[in-house]
Amino acid sequence: MSKEIIGTPQQWEQLEKELEVLKNEPGPVMKAMQAAQAIYGYLPIEVQSKIASTFGVSLEEVYGIATFYAQFNLKPKGKYTIGICLGTACYVKGSGLVIDKFKERLGIEAGETTADQKFTLDATRCIGCCGLAPVLTVNDEVYGNLTTDDVDKILAKYND
């Protein structure tokens, strides 16, 4: 089992602390994976191995869960995750064009992260505010009634 520490010592310490608490809970694996992702932003192999050995399940079982649920990431996410809704309403109102513009501007495909780890581009299902279609989120911010002209303006807001 992989023994290396990943990330900062603080992150690893935090992970160990959270896993310790979960040891007494029923069905702890998924909760542990969520907690670990909150710390690291994704689930690297070292973290999955740690979870597996802590709860006495196989690494494959953890990996199987990680690939089953869309909520878990196997790769690090960028500082800002742009989630563009490609649900029916948004798509009809042109979100396909919007995501294409983002792809062009950022030079990545949906599901990928820019080399500078700043932006991750995700195509999402309906996020439940079709009245604002087409809609996207940047982390927890919501932007609605979009056109392709908004793309550069939105990116400029995160120019830090």
Partner: protein, 581 residues
Amino acid sequence: MKEVTLKINDISVTVPEGTRILDAARQAGFNVPTLCYYKDLCNEGSCRICVVEVKGARSLVASCSAVVAEGMEVYTKTPKVINARKTTLELILSNHNRSCLSCVRSGNCELQKLSQEYGCDDVAYTGDKTAVVPELPNAYLVRDNSKCILCRRCVAMCEKVQSVGVIGANFRGFNTTIGCAFERPLGAVDCVACGQCINVCPVGALTEKDDTDIVVEALNNPEKTVIVGTAPSVRVALGEEFGNAIGTDTEGKMVTALRRIGFDKVFDVNMTADLTIMEEGTEFLSRLQDKNAALPMITSCSPGWIRFIEFNYPELLPHLSSCKSPQQMFGAVIKTYYAEKMHLDPKNIVVVSVMPCTAKKTEIFREDQNASGYPDIDVVLTTRELARLIKRYGIDYNSLANGEFDDPLGKSSTAGYLFGATGGVMEAALRTVYEKVVGEPAPSLDFKAVRGTKGIKSATVDLKGTKVKVGVAHSLSNARQILEDIKAGKCDYQFIEIMTCPGGCVNGGGQPIVSSEKINAGVDVKALRAGAIYKADKKSALRTSHENPVVKTLYAEYFGEPNSHKAHKILHTTYHKRDKM
């Protein structure tokens, strides 16, 4: 136990409460087909082939998981049921690599059999197929997910029975594939190579790596002396590939077939099983007298088990006997003693072993398994591959006359033969150890407490006042239990036999595949094949390893005595920690 009466296709049956509908149906004389259900192993209910109609139920019911109820009326062959099964089959086939012409499982594929029975000659659904990443090659097993039907029997075997757990379902929905963590190939994870996943696979998604061509090439090379040796359990299973009943001993025909294939010498690994007893028994007795030696001592014959302890319990490696496995001793003796005696250059000897095992294919590549300077064993064929070769060469197996192994390395005691069944190594060892210590044969050579298919067995033997407690475990989940006891200081055995596969080698990962239809109907393959071994032992005049005249000659002419310096050099090895993924 409370009983329940129900009707299957209007036939009344009474079964114990909790019986699965498909078992009740069998009692009424109706087989319900299954692709994922496998008795005592897999109960996923995922394939939906076993659906039946239950009066009053909202929809069709999976008879592998639903249990009977009083007054239930079940129909297993209505048009609704048959159509549902056919549609399910067609959907499975639409995402299946239908290269059935040459598929190694053609003829004993459970999907093929059902497709034929249900008349699925035209696959109505076309479209995308699940993307399959070709598996990187390894020494023992081929995984082809384009044929996988996601039944998860292999996953249950790996996780529950073997407690190895390196395979599982990755991703979801249409993208689901059976694989290892982080999509690593099997050869790069802590797979023990036992091949039990192959034996439960209903289709051709999992097979042994076929090495028959390497053997054929050697046989056709006039510069090579090609010598073959067969493991104990091969002869009690090989006949099944030619239509014989499970548990038929076809040793004589097997020997003749090997000779007709063209091997220069047909020897027997039972012989080096006897040799293993001399070495391992002596090692055990000297450990028993040495206060600093690691006890319990654990057998080292089973290479899947060796991989398991090296991956998972490296701190317990000192408990392993330093003996090579009988297979490796076989090759080592041929390329040293026999080569010298016959004035052969070991360089020009090709030793082929026929094994019930896929892990044996990895064992030959271990370090320190080359006593002569050349690999002890050159090629390993499983029982299934030998059958394939016999068929390819047009040898009419069932009409063959019985042959006998060649001298000198074909002579064995039936103690060596016992190695094929769980408990066999221990029984063979006890026969010899008892006589060595006490000075006379054991009152009965039958140590029945270590026989049978119970997961963990034990016996206490009184060696002239010294009581020795021995343990026997088969399948790695049972082995794990014993190892945990050793770690916790709760194990009071002095000598332990561990076999990787459930039932021991007779049920190894390289043995003929028995359909789930038979398994689900209660056929006990392990007991039937082991029964053939015990039957031969009962009739035998030579039942102890130390009385094998060839063993005596080997020590007199070559090794001196068991555990001598020379024996250590040629017949022993070392084991080491392996990093887990």
